[in-house]
Symmetry: C2
Subunit: 394 residues, 2 copies
């Protein structure tokens, strides 16, 4: 059944609206908030005074007069609390400490070779502890920990993590962190987090229909539909890496045939490189070779762009009619060599209307897409749950 509506809900929503307005347009006066939101001046005054009591916003000095009494400017109190946000990769862990506006205060990357669960968890705990110590004193302290992971998070049966690329199955990461740290924990797929990061802090801030393709060892896709992250029934949407693009193609480890990521990923590139005599090369080395003008390297990257743009991304454009497609993760370093191929393929292959609507970009946050997405999740849920507490208390 749907929710019932009463005055408590009205107040909660209006308060959230005022806070959101301050967040977006700070510094801003009470009078301007009233005008922008359509709320009455008195209502805004009363809600703002509660927000100040809760330390969520601050009065800074007075602003410029526009012919009358000077306005008192309000600021978001972005140092009322901090988030710890993690990108758990297959070779390294990236952790950042952010304030409530998503400013990064502290950052650390830890490399590892041993994928063993206990080993990696130990490093993860160490990293979290270090970031926690780095947090300044504040009203709310650490408001949550978010971890982006290279795999699926099953939300039934209590958030269990499955990460084949890490060799992990059924790790109850969320539960483990909840027990160790008494703060809200969010665990989310790396591509989903990346999509949200680009939407909130990156190149997608103006788009509400955005597809983020994380092209790394495999391909993961995060979907922002109608301004919100779309997870599917149980969080397994976006397995576009395992979309068939060659119906009788090679067999993938997923059991399907002709999967996109067999043709257009780091894995695919390195396999091709092996054939062309680049033994045990890395993506960076191939990009350097291309920069040095080696035809083989340039061609390999262009072909990768063909497979990315001409098939997978064209399909994405047809399926979702998105406003924006953002590409991120490790293949971003080859931008210079793959983008022209991608753009050309989309120009040639995509249907007119869908093609004209879409804007294609490389990630703006680069290595930070995932951590910033996790920070956004944590911050958003902090503001929402604080609102709910207030309602039930009053």
């Amino acid at each position: 059944m749907s929710q019932t509506w009463n005055q408590h809900v009205v107040k909660k929503e209006n308060k959230a609206l005022v806070l959101e307005t301050i967040k977006e347009k700070a510094p801003i006066s009470r009078a301007s908030i009233a005008q922008v939101t359509g709320l009455n001046k008195g209502t805004v005054s009363s809600l703002v005074s509660e927000l100040i009591d809760e330390k969520l916003t601050n009065e800074s000095g007075t602003g410029e007069s526009s012919g009358g009494r000077r306005p008192v400017m309000l600021l978001l109190n972005e140092t009322a609390g901090y988030t710890i946000s993690i990108d758990l990769g297959v070779k390294s862990i990236l952790g950042v400490l952010t304030d409530l506006r998503g400013n990064i205060l502290h950052e650390k990357r830890t490399l590892f070779n041993n994928n063993n669960v206990e080993e990696v968890l130990h490093l993860l705990y160490k990293l979290i502890d270090e970031l926690g110590v780095a947090a300044p004193d504040s009203e709310y302290g650490i408001v949550g920990i978010g971890v982006g992971v290279p795999g699926g998070v099953v939300t039934t049966e209590g958030e269990i993590l499955l990460a084949p690329n890490l060799g992990w199955k059924k790790v109850p990461l969320s539960q483990l962190l909840s027990e160790k740290y008494q703060v809200p924990i969010t665990v989310e797929n790396e591509a989903n987090a990346g999509a949200y990061g680009e939407k909130v802090y990156g190149v997608g801030q103006l788009s509400s229909e955005l597809v983020y393709a994380s092209v790394g060892i495999g391909i993961g896709v995060g979907l922002i539909l109608d301004g919100k992250l779309y997870r599917g029934l149980r969080g397994f949407s976006g397995e576009l890496g395992h979309m068939t693009i060659e119906k009788d193609g090679a067999v993938c480890r997923c059991g399907n045939k002709g999967c996109w990521e067999l043709y257009a990923s780091e894995q695919a590139l390195l396999k091709q490189a092996e054939k062309n005599g680049y033994v045990n090369a890395t993506v960076e080395e191939i990009v350097i070779a291309a920069n040095n003008g080696e035809a083989n390297a340039i061609n390999m990257l262009a072909q990768l762009g063909d497979y990315l743009g001409g098939v997978g991304i064209t399909n994405i454009i047809h399926i979702f009619n998105p406003e924006q497609v953002v590409m991120g993760n490790t293949l971003q370093s080859a931008e210079k060599f793959i983008m022209p191929a991608i753009e050309k393929r989309i120009e040639n292959n995509a249907i007119g209307f869908n093609k004209n609507d879409v804007q294609l970009n490389m990630s703006k946050l680069k290595k930070h897409s995932t951590v910033m997405g996790m920070a956004a999740f944590t911050i958003e849920s902090f503001y929402i749950t604080r609102g709910n507490e207030r309602v039930t208390i009053s």
Copy 2:
């Protein structure tokens, strides 16, 4: 900017909630509504009396006592108004007259050979007029006309229809109908409407993540995500018929290569049939041949199922992690021969988690999926806009 919240909104939402409850659980008493929704008995009483004044609900007689005073049962007044809902196909127009619960009172199909815009519009107007005459007298009369069309509806620049399969481009259908009939008009893609029809009245009533594949001359897909129809940025989502499934495949008329609908549609089947000596055959004839045990026909249908299930629908399952995939339109007549192939392919090719979540069904409404979807749109918007009028008046 977001919406501001006040008591008017609260009342409007609660009234909608009460009406929704009556719609779903009729016959139901005021006391039960209060218990189900969590609203106060007095509140429910007052809202119900307004709904009765507006003729949207009725008191029927008293129900059975459960040890005290007998309850007065409330019913939805489904004959307070009627919708005219149309499925504009490439060879025929199907029109129905429905009441506010979606019961079909009158139905007519008109065939045509000449795709000329004026010609078809003339037939459409005639059909609408006939259905309008058939509507009984009622409080609100015809509350809206909805037309499902075989093409895209561009919502910018005032709802222009593009229907390549009809040979139409840039027909302002919505505007034409608005001028001729002074009631709310909805024009929507046939697959989108079919998806909503199955969600509201068909086999998808319990699912909120549903993908509807309309397999006819081409393939169109309607997406129900998070319980709502997903249209993409400008209404062009769901062009999955033009998803590449063979990267170096045949060129499609859309300009892309290896599109799904080249392998798995009526068009594809008939082309194959031609090769196998079934000259100028129809789908029905091939199904009859299969029923008569002709191996060629059986094999062609099985192969069609392979392409449907093993590639396209498997991709859908990986992309969306849906709760349900529903197939409809003309190919439904071949259900018996294609379903086993589809199911087998999905079993073999789809990734475990996504596969286990999904349920595969043929359309329940069959030829009526699209018209019922249009009826659902019209009815829903009637109830919503009536609510808004009330708010601005009071």
